[in-house]
């Protein structure tokens, strides 16, 4: 019995092409979490994200960033998260660089339609520079048997004292094999300003007691064009309780 067709996979890939071709360019970090379009009532979590970039002769060499967040659902379909951001941009030292407020909004029930949809709204303020970045866009996920394709098509508006006001685009994709709860391999693709990269990732979830669980993600993204920094490491931990 054929339960999901090749046509559906082709449609999803067309969507990937459509979004990546429409991608403009963003100043911020492009490699970040690939968001799923789901929100649960009573959701509460602490989140830690880390990224590191490496290429000896690239301006982004040795750049390191960390994000620490606390999130909670505000309605059955919407969740808020607040982050503190710290960056190290060579040759400067590590420092607290900004704050971010994020709202995720689940638009459709999982499995109700042929794809699941959500929206993301983020407002980031850069410390001491009076610079701001507003991000919004669509989150999509579609199941293909034991695998899931997640796409984020985002528009970014930047403005502030040391930034030219401009609209940019970002695109993130993740194709995940739901092998075991603790181990789920995936491939990820990112496109944004001066960045086009792809690479393998691994993620999973470990349950402790009742609704307490730890989600983890690790990805190594490599450049797919000459402007992009060679290697980016991405790591994230989410403790839900």
């Amino acid at each position: 019995m054929k339960l999901y067709s090749k046509k559906a996979v082709v449609k999803a890939l067309c969507f990937v092409c459509l979004c990546s071709s429409a991608s403009a360019l963003a100043d911020g970090r492009v490699v970040d979490k690939v968001y799923h379009p789901y929100v649960q009532p009573l959701e509460r979590e602490f989140e830690y994200r880390y990224f590191y970039q490496r290429q000896a002769d690239h301006p982004d060499n040795n750049t390191m960033g960390q994000k620490l967040g606390y999130g909670f659902s505000v309605t059955e379909r919407a969740a808020l998260e607040i982050y503190v951001i710290a960056d190290r941009i060579s040759p400067e030292d590590y420092k607290l660089t900004g704050y971010e407020l994020e709202l995720r909004w689940m638009l459709t029930e999982q499995g109700q339609y042929s794809a699941d949809w959500g929206m993301l709204f983020e407002l980031e303020r850069q410390n001491n520079q009076d610079n701001y970045e507003f991000t919004t866009g669509l989150l999509m996920e579609k199941e293909f048997g034991p695998t899931s394709l997640t796409l984020n098509a985002l528009a970014v508006y930047e403005w502030g004292q040391t930034l030219d006001a401009e609209w940019e685009g970002e695109f993130r994709a993740q194709y995940r094999y739901r092998w075991l709860p603790a181990v789920q391999p995936a491939i990820e693709l990112y496109a944004g300003e001066n960045y086009k990269g792809a690479g393998p990732s691994l993620m999973g979830v470990h349950k402790f007691d009742k609704q307490k669980q730890l989600k983890w993600e690790l990805a190594v993204i490599v450049a797919i064009d000459n402007d992009t920094v060679d290697r980016t490491l991405r790591f994230a931990l989410e403790y839900e309780f």
């Binding site: 339960l3 449609k11 649960q40 009532p41 794809a115 609704q211």
Partner: protein, 135 residues
């Protein structure tokens, strides 16, 4: 004649541009077939029924009614679903189309007691089951 050729050329060009947009629209089209609805209750931190039979190969709707005053979370890795149902609340889950087989689920807030299994039956077995268990 020349105008007609130019017009056809422009149409071909535009139709190429429209392909990804059409693909995106098709991707979002809702499933129009009527879905079978199955009810699952949570009472005293137990799923009732704890064994739920559904037809394989089609999308089904699970209506989960939580009769307990405390919240519960329907969770199943094999079904790729997790959904919190508030105390005295209800939630709708859409699953499938499923391959014939067994799919375990549990309540994340009370995993020791709230356990169940969803069994997806192939068409012939499903028709036999339906004939023996009139709804």
């Amino acid at each position: 004649m020349r105008n007609k050729e130019l017009k056809n050329k422009a149409l071909r060009k535009n139709s190429k541009k429209a392909l990804p947009v059409a693909a995106l629209l098709l991707l979002t089209l809702p499933v129009v077939a009527e879905q079978k609805v199955f009810e699952l209750q949570i009472k005293d931190h137990l799923f009732q029924p704890s064994v739920l039979y559904v037809p394989a190969g089609e999308k089904v709707k699970l209506l989960v009614l939580n009769q307990d005053p405390s919240p519960e979370e329907f969770e199943s890795f094999s079904l790729n679903r997790e959904k919190v149902i508030l105390g005295k609340g209800k939630a709708t889950l859409f699953v499938g189309p499923l391959q014939p087989g067994k799919y375990q689920f549990f309540g994340e807030y009370n995993p020791d007691s709230a356990q169940g299994v969803l069994i997806a039956l192939p068409e012939e077995q499903w028709l036999r089951y339906k004939a023996n268990h009139a709804y």
